[in-house]
């Protein structure tokens, strides 16, 4: 099969999913009305509720939902073979992913911009909201652990990468200063900072700079610091946490926002270049790369991941379905929708575009890297490095040397992760202040709240196995998605509409996610009981196991309350007697 055929399969998936299934649900069940006033207009306060053009909102939604998930997930999941991963990406988006994103927006719009926290309180129970919020906190902690490990342990330890990343940070601050203080034209600011950022990435690849960072890393084989954590991994994870501290405490306009802006162009140009490269190259999928390896996810010499069901369905989270999207859609996008009829284009459309990104990432590994190199890289724990290698191969087809493409791919991924991590730490800080502020007033302090969030993240980053953390992150993400689908089903029932199109995906995702979490808990606990693990892995495994069991129990309690709410007879309001 040719790589272009895979793209065509994705496009057919988009066509069938969007134009047939999604549009029919939109027309027959939700029935959006372009004359109805949306919360963006009704409550226009210039702060949260502001109507926006559908194309602008589409761009905003896509940028907010597409992070590291659709890139790393497919790379890990092809251990079961590339075909199951591709099928889940296409079918998951077609039947589940868009349902959640689109319906989250519509529920938000019809419920006057209320978030899922408030809706769970109203539609399910008082404790449902508390559980949901604790659940979100744990989920965010897992994002920090999964992304922090990728960036601090894998990408930044490559001596050709750190200079590029650090320069993008500095140039982002320069971009902010040029825009807000010097009032310079955005085109000039963009041109100067983005060109300099690319120059910085190239600068990182030259000999003396690489030697310098190699020396900082403690040589080609960095010495062990504690357990199995090397000095380089410790150092760069500290740098990542420091960057997150700045991102979470400095004003948005000073740090996070302009850096994200410059980073966007680095990422966007990489995606465009990679897509053009693969279209020009249009290679066949290598014959030695198995379409299906086995049900255990054991590819060649690699360690088996576990059973295809349920683990494949949580390993690829974003790119098929993701709980993060429901948070963005309900509390962000729903409050900016100008007319109800834009919801499918914005929510569903962005989800289908993300599916395309996940397919590109899958091809990066299968075609751009190939079987043998993939096995070598993954066995070294360089899952993110697989994407960087694949992207470098694609960019090479349009004349960009691999010596630049490789660190560029790593900087690309690092920036994608960091832009989300700032937001996550910000949220964790606010959540901890809200939960514990009355009992422990000091946690209301911005610096203290942030340090607590970062300390918890550091423990998660420095301990345990990345593959288990990734599956836990995927499992909690999918569980979050299934809870969103459940709230959507409850809302549809309360409006006396057909809710099966959201409820059936809920059942599948809920059972799958719980099974995946419990399977991971079982794997990490039995690995610990077998013994012979370094102390950091041992501690990490206990934390991972405990977290998996805790999340499963929390989700089951929430689902129990929700099912009771679903079984309650609908309240029929009688007209008042005269």
């Amino acid at each position: 099969m040719n790589a272009i055929t895979v793209f065509i399969i994705s496009l057919v998936g988009i066509g069938v999913g969007y134009f047939l299934y999604a549009k029919s649900i939109d027309r027959a069940i939700i029935q959006p009305d372009s004359n109805k006033i949306t919360p963006a207009k009704m409550y226009m306060d210039g702060v949260d509720f502001t109507p926006a053009n559908r194309n602008v909102l589409f761009g905003y939604q896509f940028k907010s939902v597409a992070a590291l998930g659709p890139i790393v997930g497919p790379i890990v999941a092809i251990q079961w073979g590339w075909l199951p991963a591709l099928l889940w990406i296409v079918l998951g988006t077609m039947f589940i992913g868009w349902v959640q994103d689109y319906a989250s927006i519509m529920v938000g719009v019809r419920e006057e911009g209320q978030t899922f926290g408030a809706l769970s309180f109203r539609l399910i129970s008082r404790r449902a909201r508390t559980i949901l919020l604790i659940f979100i906190y744990a989920y965010l902690l897992l994002i920090m652990a999964a992304f922090g490990k990728i960036v601090g342990f894998d990408l930044m330890t490559n001596p050709a990468v750190p200079l590029g990343v650090l320069l993008v940070m500095v140039l982002g601050m320069v971009a902010g200063h040029m825009t807000y203080k010097l009032k310079m034209d955005i085109l000039v600011t963009t041109s100067v900072t983005v060109v300099l950022a690319f120059f910085g990435i190239w600068l990182g690849t030259i000999g003396p700079v690489k030697s310098l960072f190699l020396a900082i890393n403690g040589g080609a084989t960095s010495p062990l610091l504690f357990g199995s954590v090397t000095w380089a991994q410790f150092l760069w994870s500290i740098v990542v946490l420091l960057l997150c501290y700045l991102g979470a405490t400095l004003p948005i306009w000073r740090w996070a926002q302009p850096i994200n802006y410059v980073a966007f162009w680095i990422v966007f140009l990489g995606i465009v270049g990679g897509t053009i490269g693969i279209v020009i190259w249009h290679p066949a999928i290598p014959a030695d790369f198995p379409a299906f390896s086995n049900f255990e996810g054991k590819l060649g010499e690699l360690k088996a991941l576990g059973p295809l069901w349920p683990l494949l369905f949580v390993t690829i989270a974003c790119g098929a379905i993701s709980g993060w999207h429901s948070l963005v859609s309900s509390s962000g996008t729903a409050r900016q929708l100008e007319v109800e009829t834009d919801a499918l284009y914005v929510g569903g459309g962005a989800m289908f575009l993300e599916m395309f990104l996940a397919t590109l990432s899958l091809l990066c590994a299968v075609v751009g890297v190939g079987y043998e190199k993939y096995v070598v890289l993954v066995s070294k724990g360089a899952n993110a490095g697989v994407f960087a290698n694949g992207l470098a191969t694609f960019l090479n087809k349009i004349g960009i040397p691999v010596s630049f493409g490789l660190p560029y791919g790593s900087v690309f991924l690092t920036l994608m992760a960091l832009t989300i991590m700032y937001l996550v730490v910000r949220f964790m800080r606010v959540a901890s202040a809200e939960f514990l502020g009355d009992a422990v007033p000091v946690i209301r302090n911005t610096a203290v709240g942030t340090i607590v969030a970062l300390a918890l993240s550091a423990v998660m980053i420095w301990t345990g196995f990345w593959s288990y953390v990734w599956i836990l992150f995927g499992g909690s993400n999918q569980l979050m998605a299934s809870i969103a689908l459940l709230i959507i089903s409850l809302w549809l029932k309360s409006k006396e509409k057909n809710y099966l199109w959201a409820f059936v995906p809920f059942i599948f995702m809920f059972i799958t996610s719980i099974a995946a979490l419990l399977n991971t808990a079982w794997q990490v606990i039995t690995a610990n009981l077998r013994g012979a693990l370094p102390i950091d892995k041992l501690i990490g495994n206990w934390i991972a196991g405990g977290l998996a069991i805790f999340l499963s129990i929390a989700a089951l309690i929430l689902a129990w309350d929700a099912i009771k709410a679903l079984m309650r007879p609908a309240k029929v309001s009688k007209p008042a007697e005269a």
Binding site: T50, A52, G59, Y60, K63, I252, W253, Q257, F427, V430
Partner: protein, 99 residues
């Protein structure tokens, strides 16, 4: 016979597509920056309304004489301020207020 004005439709379609592409890129890039700036401005304006019209909330900061003098300038901001102030907030809303 082919319609001689057909190319005009094509031009119109291409122009629309280009405009849509520009909007999408704007949405991915500067839109959030613009939104944050608007939020910042709205917050300052709401603070101004609170200082001048604080009496309504039981926070008498400014003597009513000056509040009345400032009323015409504050009046356009009041509906937005009212919506923002009275809206119930969930924890998921709070991150937006931490700049």
């Amino acid at each position: 016979m082919a319609n001689p004005l057909r190319w005009l439709n094509w031009r119109h379609t291409l122009l629309n597509a280009w405009r849509a592409f520009k909007d999408v890129i704007y949405g991915m890039t500067t839109y959030e920056m613009v939104r944050d700036l608007k939020k910042e401005r709205a917050r300052l304006e709401h603070l101004f309304v609170l200082i001048t019209m604080g009496d309504w909330l039981g926070i008498p900061i400014l003597p009513p004489y000056y509040a009345l003098r400032l009323l015409p300038y504050v009046l356009p901001q009041i509906p937005g301020w009212r919506c923002c102030l009275l809206r119930e907030r969930d924890l998921t809303d709070l991150t937006d207020f931490e700049t």
